[in-house]
């Protein structure tokens, strides 16, 4: 059986029962975020598309949706980066190499990679938004020739909160991508840009009709960044976002993640702006 079939078969017998995942590597990236590399039972590949998420369980503490930050090209394991924010993630941060977690998924719609082939890609990441975007960036790196120009704009509050430090240094050095980073507030050692991420966008040179703008960050960031991308004349369906919502099932049933008629866990978490714009209210990420 194909790995995808094994996963689907598991879902069918009980979509609520998690697979067993073993933490094979763990490290703190910042004061609040921890990185995990996880191997599934039988070393089967999760095969998550960039932008998809898994439900992570720790028995007795519950379950929470977490974005996958590795690429499907990373074989034999997948990776997560988790901020300590609730009961589950607090306990997860106390786990390390050798510990077991439950994994369900992958769930949701990832970034529209098939449509993005041949296009230029402009990635805008705010704070934790770099986590699901790392998956996309790694994918693009593995399949670099399938995409046009690639530029990455990364913003966070302070240099201390910068995630994937080694990797971002590597992105900076590479000739085949443009990488720009900014912090809201610098410190004495910081030599990069200071200011909101929206300040980087006007200077970016793009061919809007040939560009996908992929934005992931906190709700407030979307409002401002999307306006800038629209000003750049990127078509609405080429502006891609990923939304965070409360989720309990991942199956479009429990109702927590619903935005009006849409279940974010099934038709999201990735949406394009043409879809986002159709929400009448309740959607904090919509550009004003």
């Amino acid at each position: 059986m194909l790995e995808r079939e094994i996963l689907l078969e598991k879902m069918k017998t009980s979509p609520y029962k998690p697979m067993h995942g073993k933490i094979i590597h763990a490290e703190m990236l910042t004061e609040k975020e921890k990185f995990f590399r996880i191997q599934l039972e039988g070393t089967i590949n999760l095969s998550a598309q960039p932008g998809q998420f898994v439900m992570v369980s720790i028995f007795g503490y519950g379950e929470a949706p977490i974005s996958v930050c590795s690429s499907p090209s990373d074989k034999g394991y997948f990776e997560l980066t988790v901020r300590n924010a609730g009961i589950l993630t607090n306990k997860l941060q106390r786990l390390g190499k050798g510990d077991m977690v439950g994994i369900r998924g992958p769930f949701g719609n990832g970034f529209p990679i098939d449509n993005m082939f041949g296009y230029d890609v402009m990635i805008v990441a705010g704070g934790l938004g770099i986590v699901p975007l790392r998956s996309l960036i790694r994918y693009i790196m593995f399949h670099r020739n399938d995409f046009g120009n690639v530029q990455i704009l990364l913003g966070c509050k302070t240099p201390k909160e910068l995630l994937f430090e080694e990797e971002t240094k590597d992105w900076m050095r590479r000739a085949e991508i443009k990488f720009n980073c900014t912090v809201d507030k610098g410190d004495p050692d910081w030599k990069g840009n200071v200011g909101l991420i929206t300040t980087l966008i006007p200077n970016v040179d793009i061919n809007p009709m040939r560009t996908y703008g992929v934005v992931v960050g906190p709700p407030i960031m979307y409002k401002f960044v999307i306006v800038k991308l629209l000003e750049k004349k990127i078509p609405e369906h080429q502006i891609i976002v990923s939304l965070e919502r409360r989720m309990k099932c991942g199956l479009g049933k429990c109702g927590h993640c619903q935005i009006e008629g849409a279940y974010v866990c099934q038709s999201g978490p990735v949406f394009n702006y043409a879809q986002l714009k159709n929400f009448k209210g309740e959607c904090h990420e919509k550009a004003a």
Binding site: M11, K12, T13, S14, P15, Y16, K17, P18, H20, S57, I58, F59, G60, Y61, G62, E63, A64, R83, A85, G86, L88, T89, M100, G102, P218, P219, E244, R245, R246, K248, C249, L251, G252, K253, C254, G255, H256, C257, Q258, I259, E260, G261, K280, G281, E282, H284
Partner: protein
Amino acid sequence: MKYASLKKADLFEWLEHLKKKAKLYAPRKKENLFVLRPVKNVEDVCLEYIPTILPPKKYYFPQKEKLFKFSAQPFKTGKAIDKFEEFVLFGVHTCDIAGIQCMDVAFRDGPEDPNYLNRKDKMAIVGIECLKYCDKYANCTSMGNHVPRGGYDLMMVDIGDKFIIHINSEKGEKLVTDLGYIKEAAQADMDLLDRAREAKKKVFKEEFTGPLSKVYDVFDKSFASDIWKDVGKRCVACGNCTAVCPTCYCFDVADEMELNLDDGVRYRIWNSCQMDDFAKVAGGEDFRKGRDSRQRHRYYRKFKYPVDRFNRYFCTGCGRCTRTCMAQINLVETVNSLLNEKGIVE
């Protein structure tokens, strides 16, 4: 046999028979209201009743349902699906059968929910058609659910000293065959059935001031209506309306540990979009703030979203949400004021 008849005097005998065949649930009195309960004494079964406090969903989507057992140390997961026993829901109103049809659609929609479907497989439904309104709160006529529209195994209609029973499935047929007291309905009985249905037309009138298609259109245009503010202001956020709704199925998932702190069970538990933290994420952001937007969401999940998704209204017209609301939030009034606001009055 398509239609059978049963003398009222033989009802208890039939109930005794059904009780022997499977677990039998039927309406009975609880104080001044009604509830569905396992039948101990067939004399307690009450077929003239206003909708039960909780709809039949508690038997195929229980308040608290085991998903699987686990052990944290060593890390183990147990079997996910229990074997369920055959059961008969007896005396179900047509509105509640419509509710079951809605839940079927929602849980069958992929990815399927095996917990729900496995329970449902074991269920037989014996309905009873209402010939008069239960009370002033129902809006079953506007929803078209005051008459049987499938979704049952047997349907009973009271024609005086007898019940006519419509046999709608093989499962239903098995519940009435080889019983001396259940006979094929005679033409005279069928005439009485026609007459009962005819009389019914004079009793049941549409409760909304506009047709259902207009209700959908109005919902499409009423997202920003001030009516939601008024409803939200009155809402106590007690969650009664969603608990008693036959088509509300939101849930939460929680773990319960045994005292050894190693073994435990993962459950799903009824939850409600009316709760303050329902759409709040761990980081603190609340994506459906305010009781007005939560109440609006509840209404839209009955009259708009499921129509778009499943081509089906998720309001059955049972009237439970209005009946149970302490703050007098009234579904018919809300819908009619939306219709009125958009100038639709018949």
